[in-house]
C-alpha cells in the first residue's frame, strides 16, 4: 500500500503547470485534493513518474458570482458546497449532492475540479454539472477554451482534456427561481460510489428540462426524450417504459437488473423535479 517512487513538482502558476504537464506527457499526473489519485498511487493502479501538485495555484481557487452564473475554481473542496461557503447557482442542488458522497474527511480535501477531471463513471459531480448545463473552463498549451459539461467525458476515466490541459473551473449558470430539481441515488453503503444516480432539473415555466443518469458504465447519459415528454406535461410515474426504451437505445448493454434500477432512480428524480 505504498506508492512506487515518483518525482514531485509544485508549480506556482497555471502557465508553469501547463508547461510541466505538457513536457511530462502521460507520465506526469496532476494532483488536486488527491482523494482518488493517492489511493490509486497507493494501490499502484495509476502509474505516475511525476506528480504535479496544483494545490498552490491561486487561479484554481477563485470562486466568483458572475451575475447570471457562478464560477467555481477547480480546487473548491466538496465541503465548501456542503457547508454553503460558496455562492449557490443551483437552488440548493449542489449542496444536496455534496453532502451525500464519500465521507467528511474526504470531502474536506477532495475538489470539484479533481473529481470532474478524473471522470470516474460512478462519481457524483459529473451528472450534476451536466444536469445544470455547466461550462468547463480549461487552460492548456494552446490557451484557454470552454467545453460544455456534456461534451467533456468521452468514456470511463477518459475526457476531452488534451495533453497539458488543466481544468481551471466550472461555470454554472444560475437556475431561475422557478426551476426545480430531483435527485435519486442508490448505493450499497453510505458514502460509497453510486450503483445508480439520476438528477433532473426542470423549469416548466421556461420550457427547459434536463435529466441525467450517472453511474452508467461510461459518460453520463442525457435523457433528451424524457425531457421533451416532461415538458409536454407527462407524469414521470407513467414513463417507466419510455425511460427503459431510451436507456436501451443508448446501447450501453445494461444488465436487466441495472435497467430496472436506473429506470427507478430516473423516475424518482424526475418526479421530485416536477411535483
Amino acid at each position: 500500500m505504498k506508492p512506487a517512487p515518483f518525482s514531485y513538482v509544485r508549480p506556482a502558476s497555471l502557465e508553469e503547470a501547463v508547461r510541466v504537464l505538457a513536457a511530462g506527457g502521460g507520465a506526469a499526473r496532476p494532483l488536486a485534493g488527491g482523494q482518488s489519485l493517492v489511493p490509486m498511487l497507493n494501490l499502484r493502479l495509476a502509474p505516475a513518474e511525476q506528480v504535479v501538485d496544483l494545490t498552490r495555484i491561486e487561479a484554481l481557487r477563485r470562486v466568483e458570482d458572475r451575475g447570471t452564473s457562478v464560477f467555481y475554481g477547480a480546487l473548491t473542496p466538496h465541503a465548501a458546497f456542503e457547508d454553503g461557503k460558496v455562492p449557490d447557482a443551483s437552488n440548493g442542488l449542489m449542496r444536496h449532492v455534496a453532502e451525500r458522497f464519500a465521507f467528511r474527511a474526504v470531502r474536506n480535501r477532495g475538489t470539484i475540479g479533481g473529481a470532474i477531471a478524473l471522470a470516474d463513471p460512478a462519481a457524483d459531480w459529473l451528472p450534476t454539472v451536466i444536469a445544470l448545463g455547466a461550462r468547463l473552463h480549461v487552460a492548456g498549451p494552446e490557451g484557454e477554451r470552454i467545453i460544455p459539461a456534456e461534451e467533456f467525458v468521452l468514456g470511463p476515466y477518459f475526457t476531452a482534456l488534451g495533453e497539458g490541459e488543466i481544468l481551471v473551473g466550472v461555470e454554472v449558470p444560475k437556475l431561475a427561481a422557478s426551476a426545480r430539481w430531483g435527485y435519486s441515488k442508490v448505493t450499497t453503503k453510505v458514502g460509497e460510489y453510486a450503483e445508480s444516480m439520476a438528477i433532473a432539473v426542470v423549469d416548466r415555466a421556461r420550457r427547459s428540462a434536463r435529466i441525467v443518469l450517472g453511474a452508467a458504465d461510461g459518460a453520463p447519459i442525457v435523457l433528451a426524450d424524457l425531457a421533451a415528454r416532461l415538458l409536454d406535461g407527462a407524469r414521470p410515474e407513467d414513463l417507466a417504459a419510455a425511460i427503459r426504451a431510451e436507456l436501451v437505445a443508448s446501447e450501453r448493454d445494461f444488465a436487466p437488473a441495472k435497467l430496472v434500477m436506473h429506470t427507478t432512480t430516473i423516475v424518482r428524480a424526475a418526479r421530485d423535479a416536477v411535483s
Partner: protein
C-alpha cells in the same frame, strides 16, 4: 529524490527531507514517532488514520505529506487535555466505545469534528456521519452510544433525543 517539507505538528515546527511518495500517516508514525495515528487500509477506506489538517479531519494515508507543506497538523496526541476530546474519551470509556482500540483514534477525531460542527445530532445523523470510520469489533452500538452521550453533554444533540428533562 528527497524533497523538503515543513509542518507544524501538535504545535511544534518540524522540518524534514522526505521522499515525495511519503504519505502523512507514514510521516507521523515513522519520522515523528507519533503512533496514535493508526494505519489500517492505507487507501482511504477505513478512517483509522484520520487526523486534523488546518483544523479539519483528513485521511493521513491518502494525503501526501509534501503536498500539505506549511500546514498545521493535529493528531490525537495533540488533543490530550483538550476539553471536548476529554469528554469524548470519557464517554468512550463509559459506554464501551471500543474493544481492541485500533479504530479508536480515527473514531475520536471524526467524532470531535462532528461535535464541533453540528448541533442537531441524533443517532441516525451520527451513524451517517461516522460511516467513513470502520470498526470490526463493536458492531458500532457502543460507539454510537458514546458519541451521543458526549453530544448530549456538550449540547450537540438534537433536543428530541434527550430523554431526561433539562434542568
Amino acid at each position: 529524490m528527497k524533497v523538503p517539507v515543513s509542518l507544524t505538528v501538535n504545535g511544534e515546527r518540524v522540518a524534514a527531507e522526505i521522499e515525495p511518495r511519503t504519505h502523512l500517516g507514514d510521516f507521523l508514525r515513522d519520522h515523528l514517532r507519533l503512533t496514535a495515528t493508526h494505519l489500517g487500509c492505507e487507501h482511504g477506506v477505513c478512517g483509522a488514520c484520520t487526523v486534523l489538517v488546518n483544523g479539519e479531519p483528513v485521511r493521513a494515508c491518502i494525503t501526501l505529506a509534501v503536498s500539505i507543506d506549511g500546514a498545521e497538523v493535529k493528531t490525537l496526541e495533540g488533543l490530550q487535555g483538550e476539553a471536548l476530546m476529554e469528554t469524548l474519551k470519557a464517554a468512550f470509556h463509559e459506554k464501551h466505545g471500543l474493544q481492541c482500540g485500533f479504530c479508536t483514534p480515527g473514531m475520536l477525531i471524526s467524532a470531535w469534528d462532528l461535535l464541533k460542527r453540528r448541533r442537531d445530532l441524533d443517532e441516525r445523523a451520527v451513524r451517517v456521519a461516522m460511516s467513513g470510520n470502520l470498526c470490526r469489533c463493536t458492531g458500532y452500538q457502543g460507539i454510537v452510544r458514546s458519541i451521543m452521550a458526549a453530544a448530549e453533554k456538550v449540547g450537540a444533540a438534537a433536543p428530541s433525543t434527550i430523554k431526561e428533562p433539562l434542568r
